[in-house]
Every structure is written in structure tokens, then in C-alpha cells.
């Protein structure tokens, strides 16, 4: 974490102030919290358990802010808000500091209402530390404004001495401009109602967030949302209790248990914030490792995997624009369509030197585009570049393969057409000729026409020869049985008419894509021809399916070379290998 050169001035300042103030406030609060049996002016002072809960909540939030700041640089005002929430929480203890400096108690009174505002802010800004929509900014602004009005109003007009429901601070307000008990009381009532509303809002928001967002977002957000729900309900319940009984008493079982719930919910919130921050930090570390591993050329797609673990969004994908084509490919070079306008999927472009180098497709609810850009920018710039270049090359290879496959496909279609023309044209005509010859011969069988009969017989024989040759030619150009019955029967026919024994092992009964069947047939047929030329004793042939590949093995065809077979198999994206004893063709057949 030693290279945070991008930190700006305010963050440096916060970096110094936060730990110092956290320590100071903590120490002072420890001293402040009185364990008096006479007058209980703070919840923390009411019992040993309440004191523990109070400190855990306040120091927990202060510490959480610190942890977020350390582990998750770049989360904006996030850590500050968390720490300020802790400070505002502890303000209640300072308000009730019997015998403490009046200015501290008065200041704490002014700070206290802001706790609610900080909590709403931090929950709405989670997990990125930024308020991502206008609605949220308005909501948070409204809570801040209300807290500020109450804070200023109390400071200027509340004379604690004249407050009939004072319990924690009944003497000091150094800011008092003019004692206005009616105004102070109206402000208090309004604040109670406002707290009720905000508490319920917070709870509803937490529930809605959990229900509405994707599973990924839920997984990453629950540590914050569950305590927020609890805290919202506790704040609302506290307001209700105050409406019923305006004089708060830390010894009253209702108030004291509500305080415990609030305090532990705040502790939960602190833990949740830390959890989310540590997760994000570990994710960053993964990305950093990826960048470090670049020397060893990571496999295509590792950037996507690293981002998935970094953001907690397993559905994340990285696409690269192919220059000059308007297409996008994934890391393996396969063309991928961008997701259509969908509310749950977002596309964040990664721009380098004014050029779009990558697009990250991600869960709209979990992943903050700003943060994503920064995560990629900070650690994985090289990985992006490297993977982009790889993807480009792979895409070109894929294009090339597709064009080879098209060439083969066109050739096959042409052969099929030729075979049809032969079958329906030339073969039919010679058949008709042979028929006419036969009729003519029947007519010429009359006595005395034996020369003519002999001539016609020889013509008939020639016609039959033409029929046989045409048939062989048509079959050689394109075996009709291959299209009509599939590779299995076609291999049978091949074996039936082979010039040497062909041993057929297992054969699939399924049909496969036309190009695959044709290629398998060509491989088998050429292998048998090669074996025939070598005068092998026999050929053994088998074909089977292995997941999404059709595998053809021929033994006894010799060492080749079979360059054009390798070309043909390669054109389909398959693999062709052969040595002296075995020819093996693997054909993708999805």
C-alpha cells in the first residue's frame, strides 16, 4: 500500500486527523463516562453493560472509518463519514459530562443530531463510498439539513435550565443567544418525529435494497444492510418511546434496552463496513497479483476472473472492441454481443489515451463504474492491454478459421450439386439410351439381322459401362448416402467397396453437422486409399463422440503425409494428428 500517490490533500489531512482524534476521543470518553449512582446523565453510565455497548459502538465506528481509509483508498468521503458517525455517537456521553467543561458539553449537544445523518449517508453510499443517484444525494442532503437546523436551533435557543425534560445536561449551553423554551421544545418534538420517519426510512431502504438487487449485490451488501435495518428500527422505536414518555431515563427498562439495541446495531454497522472494505482490499490485491503475474503471460480470461473476485460479481465479463469492425470479442477472441438495454447489466468502457480499449459488462447493482475504472487503472493496466492484444489475435484466427470453413463448405456444396446434376441428368439420359437400345435389339432379333443385333448388343454393353462409370463418378464426387443416412452408413459403404479389408469398430448412430460428416468421410476415405496404395493387410477404423467432439481413428493407413486432411480438419476448428500407426481427427460437433 506504499504507492498512494494519487491521494489528494484533504485525504492526507484526514489521514493524520482521524487516528489522532479517534484516540483522543476514545481516551476522553473513557474518562467521561461516569459511573455515578446519584444522577445518571448518560446511557453509558447507567450500567456496566450499557457502558461497554456505548464504547463499542462509538469506537467501533471510529475504527471502521480508519480501516476503510487504510484498506480501501479512493472511497471518497466514505471513511470520514463512518468516523464522524462514531464521533457523533460518543457526543451523547460528552453532553452528560457532569462537571465537564461547559463548552465541550454544549458543542456535543450541537453535534449529537448529526449521528442519524451520518448513518443514513454511510448506508446509502455503501459499498463504494459514493452517493450514486440524485435521489440518494437529495435524501442525504435533507437529513443533514434537518440535523443542522435542530443543532443550530438548540444551540441558539435552548436553555437547558428551562427544559422540563432535560436529563443529561440541565445546565450548560455556552452558545445560548436567547432562551426560547417554546422554540426549543418545538424543535425537540419535530426532531423526534423526524427521527421516527428517518428510522423507518432507513429500515425500509435496507429491506428494499436486499430484495431488489441481484444475488451478487446482496452477498456483498448484507453486512451493512442488516445492521442498518436493525438500527433504523431501533431509532424509530426510540422516537416512539419518547413520544409516549418525553422524559428519557437511562434506568427505564424500555429506554435502556432500546439503547442496547441501537448500540449493538451500530457495532454491527461498524463490523459490516470493515468487512466490505477488507473484501474490496483483498480483491484489489488479486488484481495487483494479476498485474505482477503478467511476466508469465496469464491465460486469456484471467483478467475477467480477477475482476470477478475483485468485485464479487461472478457474472462480470471483459470485452474488447475489434478495430475497424464494430464487433466486440471476449478474451478468447469469440465475438460477443453487448447486452441489450437491461437494467441489471451495465457496461463500463475503459478508456486509455482517448481510445476505448475494453468494455466491462457487470452487474449494475453491485459494481460502481467509477471504482471499477480505478481498480483496473491502478493495478491491471498491463493486463488489459495484454489481454486486448491477445483477444485481437485470437479473433483474427477465428475469422481465418471461419473463412477456411466457408471455403470448404462452398466446395462441398458444389460437389453435391455436381452429383445431383449427374444423377438427374447424365445418368438418366444414359439409362434412357440403354432402354432404347434394348428395344431396338428386341426389334432387330428378327432372322437375317444378326449383324445389327450384335452391333446393338455391343452398344447396350457400352451404355451399361457408361452407367456403371457414371455411378462411381457420382459417388466419388459426393456420396448421397452421406447426406441422406449419415456418416455411419456412409462408412459402411466405404468399407463394402474398399480395395482392402476394413475393420469397423464402434460407429455413432447420431447425425452431425454436414461439414463434420463430410470431413470425417473424406478423412476415412483418403486414409483407406493411402492404405490401399501401401498395400496394408487391413485398415481398422472407429469413430466415437467425446463430449462436444467427434473423434475418428484409423489404424493402418501409414505415415502420410496428409497435409490437405489436416487443412480440412483445421478448417472446422478440429485437430488432426497422425503417425505411422494412427490417424486421429478430432472434429468439434456442437
Amino acid at each position: 500500500m506504499g504507492t498512494r500517490v494519487w491521494l489528494d490533500q484533504p485525504m492526507r489531512l484526514a489521514g493524520v486527523l482521524l487516528p489522532a482524534s479517534a484516540a483522543a476521543v476514545g481516551v476522553v470518553t473513557l474518562r467521561v463516562v461516569p459511573r455515578s449512582d446519584l444522577a445518571v446523565t448518560t446511557h453509558a453510565g447507567a450500567s456496566w453493560a450499557a457502558g461497554v455497548a456505548d464504547l463499542a459502538a462509538g469506537l467501533g465506528l471510529l475504527g471502521a472509518g480508519l480501516v476503510v481509509w487504510l484498506f480501501r483508498p479512493g472511497s471518497g468521503s466514505g471513511p470520514l463519514v463512518v468516523s464522524l458517525a462514531g464521533l457523533a455517537w460518543l457526543a451523547a456521553d460528552w453532553v452528560g459530562w457532569e462537571g465537564g467543561p461547559p463548552v465541550a458539553r454544549s458543542l456535543a449537544m450541537a453535534v449529537e443530531p448529526f449521528f442519524l445523518a451520518f448513518v443514513v449517508h454511510l448506508v446509502l453510499a455503501a459499498p463504494g463510498g459514493r452517493l450514486r443517484s440524485r435521489h440518494r444525494r437529495i435524501a442525504v442532503g435533507a437529513v443533514y439539513a434537518a440535523a443542522a437546523i435542530v443543532s443550530v436551533g438548540r444551540a441558539l435557543f435552548r436553555d437547558p435550565f428551562l427544559d422540563p425534560w432535560c436529563w443529561s445536561n440541565c445546565t450548560d449551553n455556552v452558545f445560548l443567544a436567547s432562551a426560547q423554551p417554546d422554540v426549543a421544545r418545538a424543535l425537540d418534538s419535530a426532531w423526534i418525529l423526524f427521527s421516527l420517519a428517518v428510522g423507518l426510512l432507513l429500515a425500509t431502504l435496507a429491506v428494499r435494497q436486499m430484495a431488489a438487487t441481484t444475488a451478487t449485490a446482496r452477498r456483498s451488501m448484507w453486512p451493512v444492510l442488516v445492521p442498518a435495518l436493525l438500527l433504523g428500527m431501533a431509532v424509530g422505536a426510540h422516537a416512539l418511546a419518547l413520544l409516549r414518555q418525553r422524559l428519557e431515563s437511562p434506568r427505564d427498562p424500555v429506554f435502556s434496552s432500546l439503547f442496547q439495541v441501537r448500540a449493538w446495531a451500530a457495532v454491527g454497522l461498524a463490523v459490516g463496513v470493515i468487512l466490505v472494505a477488507v473484501r474490496a482490499w483483498r480483491a484489489r490485491a488479486t488484481l495487483a497479483r494479476l498485474a505482477a503475474d503478467l511476466g508469465e503471460a496469464p491465460t486469456p480470461g484471467s483478467l475477467g476472473l480477477a475482476l470477478a473476485s475483485a468485485t464479487g460479481d461472478p457474472s462480470i465479463g471483459v470485452l474488447y472492441p475489434l478495430p475497424g469492425s464494430g464487433r466486440h470479442v471476449d478474451a478468447s477472441g469469440t465475438t460477443v454481443d453487448l447486452p441489450a438495454n437491461r437494467s441489471d447489466r451495465a457496461v463500463t468502457p475503459i478508456v486509455r489515451n482517448g481510445r476505448e480499449v475494453a468494455l466491462v459488462v457487470h452487474d449494475a447493482a453491485t459494481v460502481d463504474p467509477e471504482q471499477l475504472r480505478m481498480q483496473i487503472g491502478a493495478a491491471a493496466r498491463l493486463a488489459v492491454e495484454n489481454e486486448r492484444l491477445q483477444a485481437e489475435v485470437l479473433a483474427q484466427l477465428e475469422d481465418l478459421r471461419a473463412s477456411r470453413a466457408r471455403v470448404v463448405e462452398v466446395g462441398d456444396a458444389e460437389r453435391r450439386r455436381l452429383e445431383r446434376n449427374l444423377h438427374d441428368g447424365a445418368q438418366q439420359r444414359v439409362l434412357a439410351l440403354s432402354y432404347d437400345l434394348r428395344l431396338a435389339r428386341a426389334g432387330a432379333d428378327a432372322p437375317g439381322a444378326s449383324d445389327l443385333a450384335a452391333l446393338l448388343a455391343s452398344a447396350e454393353e457400352a451404355a451399361q459401362g457408361a452407367i456403371d462409370e457414371l455411378r462411381e463418378l457420382a459417388h466419388g464426387i459426393y456420396p448421397a448416402v452421406l447426406t441422406e443416412a449419415g456418416i455411419g452408413p456412409a462408412l459402411w459403404t466405404l468399407a463394402d467397396s474398399a480395395p482392402l479389408p476394413v475393420e469397423l469398430g464402434e460407429l455413432p448412430e447420431d447425425r452431425f453437422p454436414k461439414a463434420v460428416e463430410r470431413t470425417a468421410f473424406v478423412v476415412a476415405s483418403e486414409a483407406i486409399d493411402a492404405a490401399g496404395r501401401l498395400e496394408s493387410t487391413h485398415v481398422a477404423l472407429r469413430m466415437f463422440r467425446n463430449d462436444d467432439r467427434l473423434i475418428l481413428e484409423v489404424k493402418g493407413a501409414g505415415p502420410g503425409p496428409f497435409v490437405h486432411l489436416a487443412d480440412r480438419v483445421g478448417a472446422l476448428g478440429g485437430r488432426f494428428t497422425n503417425d505411422a500407426s494412427l490417424i486421429r481427427a478430432e472434429l468439434p460437433c456442437v
Binding site: H423, Q428, L431, S434, Q464, P489, A495
Partner: protein, 217 residues
Amino acid sequence: MRVIVAEDVMLTREGIVRLLRDAGFQVVGEAEDLDGLMRSVVLERPEAVVVDIRMPPTHTDEGLVAAQRIRTQHPDVGVLLLSQYVEPSYAMRLIQDHPERVGYLLKERVFDAAILVDALRRITEGECVIDPTIVSRLVGRRRREDPLSQLTDREREVLALVAEGLSNLAIANRLFVTERTVEAHTKQIFGKLGLEADPGSNRRVLAVLAFLRSPVA
């Protein structure tokens, strides 16, 4: 005999029709495609149909489909399939489900009126007919250890005729021997080759063809 001819190439169809008429057959219908053939069969109730394997609309295996449909729906109608392909797999597919009243002949063969008449007669008598070219290709198939080498020349001759679908009586007439002699031969052949099928039934044709095509060459 009432016959229907289904063949999409007019030249060939007319040739076959003329041949059949000359030979004394009654051609009660001509069809150019699968649907037309099926309609004619229902209307005319012929004793046999002569069908081209390749017909519109797809020009692939309409004839085979028609044969199977006719054999299922009208079991008393014989089917003679004409083809330009020396494809044992087609012939075997034809006789697989209904080994009687069907035939597979190469197209040029039917211009020999005697062969055409003989095939149709055998089919209507309940036999099956397999083109000799297909049988001789299977019998002549190259094998490493040829099980057919255990057979005498006469036995091989009988085996080929069995594969062509001839009955024992027909084989006897062809070879100028008695039917009992042929029976003895077939028993002997089936024993030597380890064939399980009843040497007297129509099923034996399929058994012999399957044996001749057995995968271990």
C-alpha cells in the same frame, strides 16, 4: 397384375410404363412424388408399386419413406424400389421392418423386361428381392479372415441367391437341383456361419446381409 409407377423423371417413367404394358401388366396409376403415390395407392389398391428412391420434394429418400409407409398401411401391396445407388444400407433399411413383398433393384436392371417381371412376380408372392450387384459386392467384400472360405463354391452360390431373396424352390429351379438339396445346403451354410435365423423364413435375407456386413472384416 395392377401396378402403379412412381418416378419423377418422365423419360424413365414412360420407359418403365411401356415395358410393363408390353409385358402384360396393367399400369393403373403414375405418380411423380410421394403424396401423389400415396393417393394413387389408396384409390387404385394395386398389387404392387414400382418406386424411384429419389423423388421430389427433397430428392433424398422419399422412395424409402414411401415403401415403409405402404408396407405399414397397406401390407398387401408389394413395393419394388428402384435406385441408382449400390447402397446395402438402403436395401437393409427397406427389409428391416417388413422383410416380405419388397424389393431393391438398380434402375438399369428393370429395362430387362424378364428381370422386372420376375421381381414383381416374386414380390407379389411374398418374397423379397435384393439386387445381385449389391449381394455380389457384399459377398466379394475384402476380409482378413474370410468366414466364407469355409463354404464350398456351390454353397457360396446358394448363399448369394439366399441374399438376393430367392426362396428355396426358386433357388432349386435356378440351379437345376431339387428343393430338398437346397434345404440341405442352406442348413449346412447357416450352421457353418453360425447364423441363428430360421433358414426357411424371409427373415433369413436380413440375417445373411447383416452377416456379410459384419464389422470385423
